[in-house]
């Protein structure tokens, strides 16, 4: 109830107007949405590419952060970034319990991710990516990331 009320309002707003480079792909229910984002400047790492984001909302959204991951599809790869694992899991304090505030919304997350990509210059995966991707069975919200690096 709580989540759907807020999400329906967000949806109305998203259908009305969106910041540049962000498009709504799918929002058939109040559990999972998909958004596409593009990086707007000409950072060579992300030029001409579109990335798909999957949002999963719990009943207590927006008190609880949504689960946000990049989704690999035939047209959308997983972007290179030292905080993005090759299975699409994102390590960003905004999406963690500590950094999340209920004031954030789908749009503001998209904007934050855009800017996270824009400012990056390293074509890298997080350290230990291979192992993490192979062995991680936890959901993103249950992983405790260490946010040791606020530069990227």
């Amino acid at each position: 109830m709580f989540a759907s009320k807020r999400l329906s309002k967000e949806l109305l707003k998203l259908q009305d107007k969106l910041p540049p480079g962000i498009t709504l792909v799918k929002a058939d229910n109040f559990e999972e949405w998909q958004m596409d984002i593009r990086v707007m400047d000409d950072n060579p790492l992300y030029k001409d590419e579109v990335y798909r984001l999957k949002f999963s909302f719990s009943q207590s959204y927006p008190i609880e952060a949504p689960e946000v991951t990049f989704l690999r599809t035939p047209t959308t790869p997983i972007p290179w970034h030292p905080h993005v694992y090759s299975n699409g899991i994102i390590c960003l304090d905004l999406l963690d319990r500590q950094g999340w505030s209920p004031v954030h919304n789908v749009e503001s997350i998209c904007v934050s991710l855009q800017s996270m990509l824009t400012s990056n210059t390293k074509k890298e995966r997080p350290p230990g990516d291979e192992n993490f991707v192979r062995y991680n069975t936890q959901r993103p919200r249950d992983i405790s990331f260490v946010f040791h690096d606020n530069q990227v």
């Binding site: 709580f2 009320k5 807020r6 309002k9 967000e10 207590s60 927006p62 008190i63 609880e64 319990r97 505030s101 209920p102 004031v103 954030h104």
Partner: protein, 513 residues
Amino acid sequence: MDSDDEFNSSQVSDDDFMEDSDAVLDEDSDFEMEENDVGFESQDKDIKPTKQAYEVDFTVYNPTQIQSHQEKQIDEVSSILGQPPESTAILLRHARWNKERLIDQYMEKTEETLESAGLGQDAVAHPPKIEKIKGFVCDICCDDSPDLDTFAMKCGHRFCSDCYKQYLFTKIKEEGESARIRCPGDGCNRIVDFKSLDLLVSSDLRDRYQELLTRLYVDDKENLRWCPAPNCVYAVQCGVRDKDLPRTVPTVHCDCGHFFCFGCTLNDHQPAPCSLVKKWMKKCEDDSETANWISANTKECPKCHSTIEKNGGCNHMTCRKCRNEFCWMCMGVWSEHGTSWYNCNRFEEKSGSEARDAQAKSRASLERYLHYYNRYANHEQSAKLDKDIYLKTEKKMTQLQNSTGMSWIEVQYLDAASQALQQCRQTLKWTYAFAYYLARNNLTEIFEDNQKDLEMAVENLSEMFEKPTDQLQGLKVDMMDKTSYCNKRRVILLNDTAENLKSGNWEFNTSLA
């Protein structure tokens, strides 16, 4: 020391006992022992003996007492700082209950201290309230109805009160946060104070919040620890600090019946100090089973000491690591075997005997570890069996009451015996871990004598315990004697180790840090 005789005599005389303890204890504690000895009272749990060297002072508190401790401290500091109690509570929690530091900080930089704890100025002048604001849109639920109840703390981040409530509910119920819940606004570090909370949340949530605060209080206080027993609600206060731990083993006894170490909150591990316990457990985790197998099934390459398992084939071994060729039987170099291949009868040769010596040395340390480990594990196992025995004891006690017409109080000796067994085994178990780390000297020998005496006392009592019920009645006096003897041996051993630990007399083959 004629401990054997003592076991077999039905009464342990005071004199025998004195002789024993003379060797171990100094004058003072000897005297104490004598006092306790009179009438064998130590088996009676209600009579507390005077404090032994291995015991520490501690107090057990229930949740109400912990609550009132907090309140007392809040009141005290509140009157010093001139802040209302709820703000003082936040300040104290922010300073992790370090009163002195808080007062110092507050006197020096009042505004900064308040700010860092999430309290701006004039919390006194404007108490928190729920308001209706014209033209307000809640950033959480996006609701903009005109008669919406809203709330904001001093930081001005305003949300509708339903959202605020939901936010607090999630934080308290699901994330277990209490004293450090921040304003829901993005990047706002203001902490939700108790008055605001009071205004917003239901009473059952408030109870949970209070519980979490108490939990945090105990966690923050260095001289308080929760009893780790499942479902136990008590906390124990003890003056032993972390830096004292190499010199003392602070076992405390919670009112729920659980014995635990105040230093590391593990089960009672006297006489071994916490650091040795940690080392020992780590070693056992890594080593014990593997070590057993290695000892039974492998030999070492005489040259590079790689461990080798021979899983078939002849005696001509080539070490895969260093390519050394040797004979599995005599461990000598293969080239000296001449033409007598595959049939080693060269045991006396020099190269072989040297290799065997070196091997023996390296195996000796493994054997030494296994010696202590097996005894440690044995007592652990027996202690588990003791739990079964305890249950059987209860049955036996009822049987005995029915079959012999003995009263409840008359069969309590079985219960006392069972408890003594459990406690002594627990101690014995850790004496083996302790002994593993002891260097060889006279003190260690005395320790091993004490250990042996206790062990024999325990095994004697344990054996008696397994007798059929119909014989138990006749053994009552004997059993009571043995129980009290066990308890006394345990006290002697623990006093000896505790005193020497305190004065730093033990020599360990590892560092206590």
